[in-house]
């Protein structure tokens, strides 16, 4: 990381009062901190090349068309927490992506302005800066595109985009925030959505015990968790989809849940059978230990989730080839759960904005 980039990231951390827990602190260069093989415990070998696959990146990516600035992040945070972006004036982005619930809502299925349960569970917005396809079905290609979807969804925030912009334009205190973030561009849909996207890009999982282990602190996680890491990558086949430092391949799979929801299949020709009932692999960082799990919130515990993967899911033509029944011993299951719990980072210390 260059010195200038480090200071830009540091500036964001100060603006958000996120501190080191935000996960944007500089990291050791890949492979520089640990040399040679690492033993998890006597008899357990964890190759360094496997650990390197999970090392966190140094920088937050942003598109050239909307580079990150502290002013955009501040504006975006204010908009994110403002319920006046909804039809009833009572639902903000943060209502469903609540900091206290790891930027989700802890519900089986979210609820918006109409009170009608939404068809899918609310995903976290943590680490969204790295996503190449957003929403459970991947129908948005960027955070800028995604930001408009909940605002204009009937049962989420329930406004037309023009109405949302008009609401913001009517609030006098927003004018200087927009001018600082997008000088001379005014309060428009593009600037509003761009600011929301910018703020969300700064929501990066805090450093977890797992990260400290990856960086060479052997005492950061238990021996059981280290064994669980191997189960995750080998016998459990979890890493077939939950790969990379975010524990997602950013891809779409039918994992064989009993559901009529076609997911990404809604956007693919019927001949693309593999996309029917396919949903994006969710990140495992900061997942809710209390559940619920899966895109439809249909599972309440980690044991239930592991049972599902042991079973291999509903057999149908669209079932992902990566879904193969696995068998875990009681010890392996316990180790796997111990490992998954090491993915919990410190909560982000984001100060609430004072709404204009």
């Amino acid at each position: 990381m260059t010195e200038s980039r480090f200071f830009i990231l540091l500036a964001f951390a100060i603006v958000l009062t996120v501190g080191t827990a935000a996960g944007v602190a500089p990291r050791s260069p890949v492979g520089s901190s640990i040399v040679g093989p690492v033993s998890a415990s006597p008899g357990v070998y964890v190759p360094e090349e496997l650990k390197v696959k999970y090392r966190r990146p140094d920088e937050i990516p942003a598109p050239p068309s909307n580079p990150l600035t502290p002013e955009k992040v501040e504006l975006g945070k204010t908009l994110f927490f403002d319920p006046r972006l909804s039809r009833t004036g009572s639902v903000s982005c943060a209502s469903c992506h609540h900091p206290g619930f790891d930027w989700s809502d802890g519900l089986k299925r979210g609820v918006g302005v109409t009170g009608v349960p939404l068809p899918r569970r609310t995903p976290t917005v943590l680490n969204a800066a790295w996503l190449s396809a957003l929403m459970w079905d991947g129908r948005a290609a960027s955070l800028e595109q995604q930001a408009v979807l909940p605002i204009t969804a009937e049962h989420e925030m329930g406004l037309e985009l023009d109405e949302a912009v008009a609401n913001v334009q009517a609030i006098k205190g927003y004018a200087p925030l927009f001018e600082a973030a997008y000088p001379g561009e005014g309060i428009r849909a593009e600037t509003m959505l761009g600011a929301l996207a910018s703020f969300q890009r700064t929501l990066v999982s805090g450093e977890a015990p797992f990260d400290r282990w990856i960086d060479g602190d052997e005492a950061a996680i238990s021996e059981a968790a280290k064994r669980g890491f191997l189960v995750f990558n080998e016998a459990g086949r979890c890493s077939k989809c939950h790969s990379s430092w975010r524990f997602t391949d950013d891809s779409f799979h039918d994992i064989g849940l009993e559901s009529e929801d076609l997911g990404r299949g809604e956007f693919a020709p019927p001949s693309v059978v593999i996309m029917q009932h396919a949903f994006k692999t969710p990140t495992l960082r900061d997942f809710r230990l209390s559940g619920p799990y899966m895109h439809d919130g249909s599972m309440a515990s980690l044991d239930e989730v592991i049972d599902h993967y042991e079973d291999g899911g509903k057999k149908r033509p669209s079932l992902s080839p990566e879904m193969q029944a696995v068998t875990l011993s009681a010890q392996e299951r316990a180790d796997l759960i111990a490992y998954l719990k090491t993915l919990q980072g410190a909560p982000l210390d984001v100060t609430m904005p004072r709404l204009p």
């Binding site: 396809a133 391949d249 779409f252 020709p269 001949s271 593999i274 996309m275």
Partner: protein
């Protein structure tokens, strides 16, 4: 005599079925994990492109032509090769339904031009 001329023309047509005098080429593109080999060389209408999945995961590629039409390659588990014949000249993009991060853009030349062949 007429029959002989017609037969000769037919033979010529069979020998040069595509590209106004150039034969269709075959190309192989390898899939490594979540990356496609860079598509190099001239691609022309009528050429056959084989996609060889040498990754350890299944893919489902599709090609979108400049006119918006799409050719799907169906699911390819590791080790499977699937092919398609290029249909439409112009910019084209290959993507994977399962892994949207996979994307490769290239230009398909008109098959009737045989310059460079």
């Amino acid at each position: 005599m007429r029959l002989t001329t017609a037969a000769m023309m037919a033979m010529m047509a069979m020998a040069l079925p595509l590209s106004g005098g150039a034969s269709a080429a075959e190309h192989t593109v390898v899939l490594h994990h979540m990356e496609l080999d860079k598509i190099e060389g001239e691609m022309r209408v009528g050429d056959v492109v084989a996609f060889d999945n040498r990754s350890d995961m299944a893919h489902n590629l599709y090609l979108t032509y400049s006119d918006g039409t799409v050719d799907n390659l169906d699911t390819q588990v590791p080790g499977v090769t699937r092919s398609l014949t290029l249909r439409v000249a112009g910019p084209a993009v290959i993507r994977c339904w399962i892994h949207p991060i996979i994307k490769s853009e290239f230009v398909i030349l008109d098959g009737k031009e045989d310059a460079g062949r």
